[in-house]
Symmetry: C2
Subunit: 152 residues, 2 copies
Amino acid sequence: MRFISKAAVAAVFAVTIAGIASQAVAQQKPDEALKMRQGLFQAVKMNFGPIGAFAQGKGALPADAAAKAENVAALARMLPMAFAKGTEALPGSNTKPEAFASADFAKGFGMMEEAATKLAAAAKAGDEAGIKAAVGDVGKTCKGCHDNFRKE
Amino acid sequence: MRFISKAAVAAVFAVTIAGIASQAVAQQKPDEALKMRQGLFQAVKMNFGPIGAFAQGKGALPADAAAKAENVAALARMLPMAFAKGTEALPGSNTKPEAFASADFAKGFGMMEEAATKLAAAAKAGDEAGIKAAVGDVGKTCKGCHDNFRKE
């Protein structure tokens, strides 16, 4: 498959990039923020879940556990973009409005990234005890924010 | 804020991790896959859009352009998880069913990751011409898959 002919590069640039750029530079719409939140959290589940299952003795360690843990760290870096100011009041959102004004909320994602990065390092080293400890640390950051900022 | 007391670690492990693990190890549900796709593509737009706007002379280079480009590379690595087999037929999906059987589809995400990684390197180096060239390369991978695998 050719992804695109060389002759069409200028057209791609004008059409594809212009479309995506003009949409993204504008303020993120609340419904887009909600979609982004839900998708990123689903991605957290898909990446962290199998490693969590291993830590609980409920599955084998995924062969790509380090990559999955790095994905979780990347998701933690992106999640704050999905909770931007202006996206507080959303039908269907499970986030308490006070989260957006809380320094702890932003800090929680930083802690999640840090714990996931340690998880990736333990997975790379094949350190099973380290993986289990780091899974617990990631889980604590999940629970910390859920307890404080997720609606019942 | 304490994210959690030390005494509660065992409980967290048993509840939070068990919940997330049991859900993720099971086959991803089609509606979850769709949610993940939509959220990850929204994240692509939020991260790539502002750099694309710069490349088109429509905005300043984001101060965190390198981090944004790295996010795009991470999203390219995660997107195939959102198009897993078994999630072909979804109401609301814009993906042609033949995408799932195509080696080019998976390859496209690899090309997207590669282009985004080059974009991150150019942004780190402050190489504006390199950024613009890499934006075009990322855009080509967007357009390549959209042309071939996205429903009209």
